[in-house]
């Protein structure tokens, strides 16, 4: 019996999300009185893998081998299904990100295990097994009961406190190179911007909308992001106009993010944009229109011209750094 958690690393280092997941899995494992088994794919070395132990993992299964170099949904599902059955997993946990969305549904059908995606918080009850999950694009939460004996949960990013609980015990690390059918997904080309902070992983995001008037005005946004150690983002019209890259578009049909701090500059706050950032812990809005809907979702607001307001904020952020 165990709680199985699927962790991810970015260039050999575990993502913050993974520590969040293991913390969640630990808390759940306590509730159902069992232990946490983490599955990691590729790149992370032994020292890095052992770090998952600090958050409660007692066993870490490291999937290595060419099979796992790129995400083939069937290959990953095969491997996780085998591990889940071997470890007697009662609950399997993913992050509600692109990998989670790619693998969890297949695993659900493979194991006939009910899936709840976009979960916020630990179960509301264990018998019946009920979870609270994001619904109506952030306008409501649904309580979902999973009826099957095995349950799969994908949790919302940045929705659970990371909890270090060093036990002193070193987790068992097992390298498993599951053979099995080779995947049919063939990657022919990759384009990556390494080194930049991943937008979906950033704790702080500074975002610009049409109110910025022109792509030439983005300097202060980039500077503020750099000073705060955050990433930059933008609203849909801005990426549609080609002012910023599509990678930066946050919103219902763009990236859904949940940073600790989201600073929206010159963004009116249309429903579709808010759907992409409603999970943020704090939203700050800077807009020249005092009636802009964004102020209804923000905790801090400044009504004013972005081009006059931003330099003052950048100056204050610079002083902070000193």
């Amino acid at each position: 019996m165990s709680v199985l958690v699927y962790t991810e690393n970015w260039e050999g280092k575990f993502k913050k999300q993974s520590y969040e997941l293991v913390s969640y899995a630990s808390a759940m494992a306590d509730q159902v009185r069992t232990n946490v088994v983490a599955v990691s794919v590729g790149k992370a070395d032994e020292t890095e893998l052992a770090r998952l132990g600090n958050y409660g993992a007692s066993k870490i299964i490291n999937l290595t081998g060419d099979h796992f170099k790129t995400l083939d949904n069937q290959v990953y599902t095969d491997a996780l299904a085998e591990i889940a059955l071997k470890e007697g997993a009662e609950v399997i946990i993913f992050t509600n990100n692109n990998s989670g969305k790619a693998i969890a549904p297949r695993l659900s059908v493979r194991l006939k295990a009910g899936l709840a995606s976009g979960v916020s918080g630990l179960p509301l009850s264990l018998e019946p097994f009920v979870l609270r999950k994001r619904a109506y694009s952030g306008n409501a939460f649904a309580h979902v009961t999973i009826k099957s004996p095995i349950r799969i949960i994908s949790i919302l990013q940045n929705s659970f406190e990371i909890n270090e609980r060093p036990t002193g015990a070193v987790p068992e690390i097992i390298a498993a190179a599951t053979p099995g059918a080779a995947g049919r997904t063939v990657v022919t080309d990759t384009f990556r911007q390494t080194g930049k902070i991943l937008l979906t992983d950033a704790d702080i995001v500074v975002s610009g909308g049409r109110g910025m008037k022109s792509p030439e005005n983005w300097g202060p946004i980039e500077e503020l992001a750099a000073l705060l150690g955050g990433a930059t983002a933008c609203s849909r019209p801005v990426s549609d106009e080609g002012w910023r890259s599509h990678e930066e578009h946050t919103g219902q049909t763009g990236k859904i993010i949940a940073p600790n701090l989201y600073i929206a500059v010159g963004i009116s706050g249309a429903t579709q944009h808010l759907a992409g950032v409603s999970g943020s812990k704090y939203i700050v809005a800077i807009n020249s229109d005092k009636d802009a809907p964004i102020f209804e979702s923000a905790q801090y607001g400044i009504v004013g011209d972005a081009m006059k307001v931003l330099p003052k904020i950048v100056e204050a952020a610079r002083s902070l750094k000193k």
Partner: protein, 249 residues
């Protein structure tokens, strides 16, 4: 090549969500129903592929699991340009159930590419596409922001951390698509609306499957604290508040 686009029927995004008495479902009075935005983009791309004779795509079918009340949404899809539709006559109880029905429809009719939007704007489950592929035992690729067909082979663009991958995959497969798959949703022309009325909608009875999950309640998100305004003249104060009050920097 035959393409199938799976569509779901959702409340228009700007709908104010209200619950019924027992907070177990949403109040559907006055709701405008539309094609799920991601599915609409998927349909648009499928039609673009069909418009290009070089791709070899001969038909675009839409499939939906729902009761007769979703017929208008099906007609919208036909009006936009789908050649025909399949409706599995059942209440879409959960993703597992819906996927089982769609898989059966694919088995019956045979399609080369199945498009599913990455999530629906009402349930946000991000499940049907992957589940359908698993029921069928065929490959699926998710987070797809582009697809083209060259010499009979599909070449897909998948979004990954910090970038994109170009992928080749043999048909049949399920492509789970997101933003970028089409620039904007296609709009139905007058002619499209007229011909939609006579395009075939095949009715299928559901296969026996039990849902694995059930929505037992709904709740509103806790209201956010009211916005604290900082004077534009002293904008720098914001940094102080963020550091000492909110403690996020």
């Amino acid at each position: 090549m035959k393409i199938l686009v799976c569509i779901s029927n959702v409340p228009d995004t700007t709908t104010k969500i209200r619950f019924t008495e027992a907070n177990t479902s949403i109040d559907t009075t006055g709701i405008q129903w539309v094609i799920n935005p991601w599915d609409e983009l998927a349909l648009t791309r499928a039609l673009e592929l069909k418009d290009d004779a070089a791709t070899g795509v001969k038909s675009v079918t839409v499939a939906h699991v729902g009761l007769a009340t979703s017929e208008p949404t099906l007609r919208k899809a036909l009006a936009i340009g789908a050649d025909d539709a399949i409706r599995v006559n059942a209440d879409p109880s959960d993703s597992y159930f819906v996927a089982a029905q769609l898989a059966e429809a694919v088995r019956k009719e045979g399609f080369d590419i199945v498009f599913c939007g990455i999530e629906s704007s009402d349930h946000n489950n991000s499940a049907v596409g992957g589940m359908t592929a698993e029921f069928l035992g065929i490959p699926s690729v998710s987070a797809i922001s582009g697809i083209r067909i060259e010499n009979g082979t599909a070449i897909l663009t998948r979004d990954i951390d910090g970038g994109k991958e170009s992928i080749r995959i043999p048909a049949p497969f399920v492509a789970i698509v997101q933003k970028g798959i089409a620039k904007e949703p296609r709009i139905a022309s007058m002619r499209g609306i007229m011909t939609a009325r006579t395009k075939p909608v095949k009715l299928l009875e559901p296969v026996q499957t039990e849902a694995l999950t059930v929505v037992s309640g709904l709740e509103k998100p806790s209201p956010r604290a009211a916005c604290k305004f900082v004077d534009a003249e002293n904008a720098g104060q914001l940094i102080d508040l963020l550091q000492n009050e909110a403690k996020v920097i």
